[in-house]
Symmetry: C2
């Protein structure tokens, strides 16, 4: 707890200073940090290799080892990402205008930093660099709590970031890393009211759930994506094939990848076989409902669990539905309010799907894979919110800010 309070106090002080720091100072600091990371890549890789050795000793699965691994290329990409953040417009201080009230008060909202942002994450050390850079650019102090698997990598990265940032005039405490990676400290971190203004978990469903259940500070849930592609009966076959294959196979491990395919009964016999064949050719395992298996006997059988599972893998669940209402019903029941797509040539179906599907991003005739801060033009993102307050969908710099009302008067009192 002492480490948390000490770092919380320092972060709070730093946040006050950061909130009024000129854009130029923040940008220079980000460029200095990027250079520092690139120049010290050998040291980062050395520390990372110790984490990797430990992880191997614990028989960590290869997919996780890959997430943990840093090499020259990845560090260079990390530095480049920070340079791009420096290039983005500074959201702080903007106003959409002011209004004059009948009694002459001039009232407006200006964009201000949130304050102190906590990030809790797992074994991806690149999160250390990119979250801290985004928070800094938006004028926030950040307290990072990464997983124990990546602790040496995280210390190396955050040490370099702190040193370089301070050289460039960023206040001490603006970026800090919790050294104690125990579960108890993580839970205390989630309850650090008075120090943390917003906590963002970045990781798998288990981490998100732990944070939601334990946190007493405001939280934005991110990431869980059980996304659907719904092939409506008027869908163009080629489009259905291209989009489904793209949404499932272009990067199966990410949250905007499709996990379930829904197809209208009226067209399932014509549309499903070519789409499923195309998926199989890409190495995707098909788990179908009984009707799907009649049409496409190759398919394995989907169990009840399949509809709610985010595979993050080369597997897809397939269900034949009786029109758009059943499709929307299914998505409402099993979806995670992330990204949902309809493939259709029918105007009314497209409008109904857009209106009735409750998700951060609802697509007509495009791949769910576009739900991403870069693709949406934000330049960077800190995660994809699947909750409905504060921010929904990709969270860029703007979503890392708050608002403040400023009121200019000349002696007004309330009658």
């Amino acid at each position: 707890m002492n480490e948390l309070i000490t770092k919380g106090e320092k972060a709070k002080k730093a946040a006050r200073l950061l909130s009024v720091l000129p854009t130029g100072v923040k940008n220079t600091a980000l460029l200095t940090i990027a250079d520092g990371l690139a120049e010290n890549s050998a040291y980062i890789i050395e520390q990372n290799s110790l984490d990797i050795e430990d992880a191997k000793r614990r028989n960590t699965p290869s997919a996780m080892l890959d997430r943990l691994l840093l090499d020259e290329k990845r560090i260079s990409a990390m530095a480049e990402g920070i340079r791009q953040i420096a290039d983005l417009p500074d959201p702080i201080g903007r106003s959409d205008g002011m209004v004059k009230t009948p009694i002459g008060l001039l009232i407006g909202k200006i964009r201000v930093p949130i304050g102190v942002i906590g990030i809790i994450y797992e074994a991806r050390p690149n999160v250390t660099a990119d979250s801290a850079a985004l928070c800094l650019k938006a004028g926030n102090a950040v307290i990072l709590r990464g997983g124990s698997d990546a602790i040496r990598s995280n210390i190396a990265i955050s040490d370099i970031m702190c040193r370089e940032a301070q050289k460039a005039g960023i206040p001490d405490g603006a970026v800090s890393l919790i050294m104690d990676t125990s579960r108890e400290t993580a839970v205390n971190f989630m309850k650090l009211n008075g120090y943390i203004d917003l906590l963002i978990p970045r990781g798998g469903a288990g981490l998100i759930k732990t944070v939601v259940n334990n946190a007493t500070v405001p939280v934005i849930e991110t990431g869980a994506g059980n996304c659907h592609i719904y092939i409506e009966k008027t869908a163009d076959l080629n489009m259905a094939k291209r989009i489904t294959v793209n949404a499932k196979t272009s990067r199966p491990s990410v949250c905007n990848a499709a996990e379930t395919l829904l197809a209208d009964r009226d067209a399932a016999k014509t549309l499903l076989p070519p789409v499923l064949t195309a998926l199989e050719e890409k190495g995707v395992e098909i788990r179908g409902c009984p009707e799907t298996r009649e049409i496409f006997p190759h398919a394995g059988a989907a169990s009840g669990d399949d509809w709610g599972t985010e595979y993050n893998d080369y597997i897809i669940a397939v269900k034949v539905v009786n029109g758009i209402d059943e499709a929307i019903e299914h998505i409402t029941k099993y979806g995670t309010k992330h990204s949902e797509a309809i493939i259709t040539s029918d105007y009314n179906m497209s409008q109904k799907f857009l209106a009735e599907v409750d998700a951060a991003a609802v697509y007509v005739n495009a791949s769910t894979r576009f739900t991403d801060g870069f693709e949406f033009g934000f330049g960077a993102e800190i995660g994809i919110s699947t909750q409905k307050i504060h921010a929904r969908g990709p969270m860029g710099l703007n979503e890392l800010t708050s608002l403040k009302y400023i009121i200019y008067g000349n002696g007004q009192i309330r009658e």
Copy 2:
């Protein structure tokens, strides 16, 4: 728990239907509800008088009895408030525009309801009517959990609202009241993830704290207001007097009332005595720091606790500070990020105060009492957020909505 799940399920279903309900239906329903409340005022007053009798039997303080009391005038004001909500523009379905990406996707955000909103409150039965009306107008289902003191009044009001709403085409379950007023059920209500998209506590500091500590659903903290008036040394004396008296005494029980006065040492001897005399004339008890008491010997002594206390009463704490930095330091330490005001004639001081004070509303030369949805032109409010995510300051209809990205494609896939 059964009552919560049953009402949660119904609210979720209702929310889906409400989200696509035309504005006209919602407005007609609100007018029908307003008429229903006005026409059934005798029944509401009868039920309320039973609550009042019970409260008297428990020796409830008179200030609390007053909050609980409903009479013809208050019910008529309640109905009128709902009619005004019907008159407000519907925020749902609006978009600030769409953008075309380089590959031809048309991406935009549209305003959608949040879904199911939980309101947890104490003994003010008017909250039942006005929260439900605001939630409905913004297309949300609402589950109300009022205090046991007002249970009969709340049942009467919510029964009438439900009956009238359904007559006008609002789905069943759109408005519901938790009948079980036990603490255990309240805590379970705060953990109703999967049913409640946002929980708003409306009440005193104790309720807010309980909600923050127990809730696992997203919460917006409201209301706690330890507001300051800072009299800078160049302040106009008359303005300082008028604004301080207004901020303290025009309605001491509300959250935007001033609780502490800070005065610059350089001008304290000239400015403080007339301001404090004016306060005393209004019956305000002065609790001063040692320097204040030297200048104004009438004043009682402020203890350390006074700086952090929201009196909600005819009491003010007064402290002499060594310039704006100490004033901001004090506000940062003791303020609740609600409303803060500086009285000054110095341009640079005004700008520094606006930039460095972290609060929902920061005033120059005006009373803190203006922090209010009506005064800010929102037409109505559901509370004043003192946290920094989603909504800050007065929360009107817009703050009861979320956003959804809609994306129109013609076959785009992500490379």
